[in-house]
Amino acid sequence: MRKDYAYFPGCSLRGTGAEFGASLEAVFRHLGYTLEELPDWNCCGATSGHAIRPRTALALAIRNLAQAAATHKPLVVPCAACYHNLRAARLAVEGGDPALVAEALPIPAAGIAAVSVVHPLEVLSSKEALAEVRAKVVDKLAGFRVASYYGCLLSRPPKAVKFDDTENPTAMDRIVAAIGAQPVDWSWKVDCCGGNLSLSATEVAVDLIAKILAGAEEAGANAIAVACPLCHANLDTRQFEASRKLRRKVEIPVFYFTELMALAYDLPRAEKWLRKHITTPFPLVDAILEEE
């Protein structure tokens, strides 16, 4: 099983999603993986890039792929938007996208198309990897009933990002089960959280966020797991507005799946990462871990 990867943290994992980056790096290290940060990486273009400047977005993503080609390793990309954009750029190079102009290619197209871009969920959910994920568990997380939330960009569109079922992905549920927590079956795992509309059309995004939070609670979850910094920001920081919309209080902690793994492994810095959340996870975490 391959354990050395190039690593694209992306802008969010160095800012609002810092705890995703830190917990992911720690968990991968704990499991014996090495992540080598991509030299001089740049923004993937995010949603705004392809929204109004498709040629710029493609060139930005391709530059990262060219940097990755030079490492001769598969590239791990945790942020769902970065992952999606880099995969889509690879597809654009293979398929001859009209937004692709020759000047956007710092190295020949074949070199770009050869770069393998993977998501941490993909790396950790193989049968072999899951056995190791399970073997390292020290803290029992059985009290966590987790709704795994995948959002949009990890599974759509399938021609660009297929590593799991499009409508019912299970990679995160399998990891949640492997670390001893209970995965919850629910209907909102691939519904949109509004993405950056949370900032530019807050009312509209809160509508979507409220449905997801209520859906998780109705399915009996006491926690939500995510794998995307924007999904986390939206579900974690908009619970007050969502409660107002639903006319009842919703309060459900939102974890990066790597934070739950860190709790299962009793990694020393987990508490520090959880402190960054706006919806405090400590009442739940303390209640479950102290029961031991």
Binding site: R53, L60, T166, C192, K276
Partner: protein, 179 residues
């Protein structure tokens, strides 16, 4: 094929002519409630050369690029990419966006990428608030994020500034339709 549909195909690579109006895109669209024209209607507008109606819609701005429509279309029409093309055209033509705040966000975001090659949220957020003339919302949230260390003050940029500059120039003076 309609001229407008040709134009959209040249930008996005997506051929909307195979749409048979099954409306799967619209049934699954999480933003359809908030749009002024459903995705399926937008495709009709393109096929009927109703350029003005398409480019002045709120729909192109409210599309969140969730790709639900793209994943489910039986004819493989990637409507999220079509929305990208429509938005891009609206911006290139200097049109007033039907949902101005969303357009302001996209521009502020890309200005930030242009500056350093990476986004620095602690710079982007105040600029976006200023440019959208909305200084009161989310102030408390911003402060909470700052004190929780989610908004580090020191920005990190890309060393290879030339590459970033070039990525932007490709759009500014790129081939084909002029921005």
């Amino acid at each position: 094929m309609a001229r407008f549909a040709d134009e959209i195909k040249r930008i996005s690579g997506v051929d909307v002519a195979t749409c048979f109006q099954c409306r799967k895109c619209t049934s699954g669209c999480p933003l359809a409630d908030h749009m002024d024209a459903a995705p399926a209607l937008m495709i009709r507008r393109i096929l009927y050369d109703r350029r003005e109606a398409a480019l002045s819609s709120k729909t192109i701005w409210l599309c969140a690029s969730c790709y639900t429509c793209s994943a489910r279309c039986p004819n493989d029409i990637d409507f999220a990419r079509v929305a990208d093309a429509l938005r891009t055209l609206a911006v290139r033509e200097g049109r007033k966006a039907a949902v101005p705040k969303i357009a302001v966000f996209h521009k502020a975001f890309l200005d930030d990428v242009r500056r350093r090659g990476r986004v620095h949220e602690a710079t982007l957020m105040p600029i976006f608030k200023l440019k959208s003339l909305d200084l009161t919302s989310d102030v408390e949230l911003g402060m909470a994020m700052f004190f929780k260390g989610k908004l580090p003050l020191i920005p990190h940029g890309v060393k290879d500034k030339k590459a970033v500059k070039k990525a932007f120039e490709l759009e500014d003076k790129g081939p084909g339709e002029k921005p």
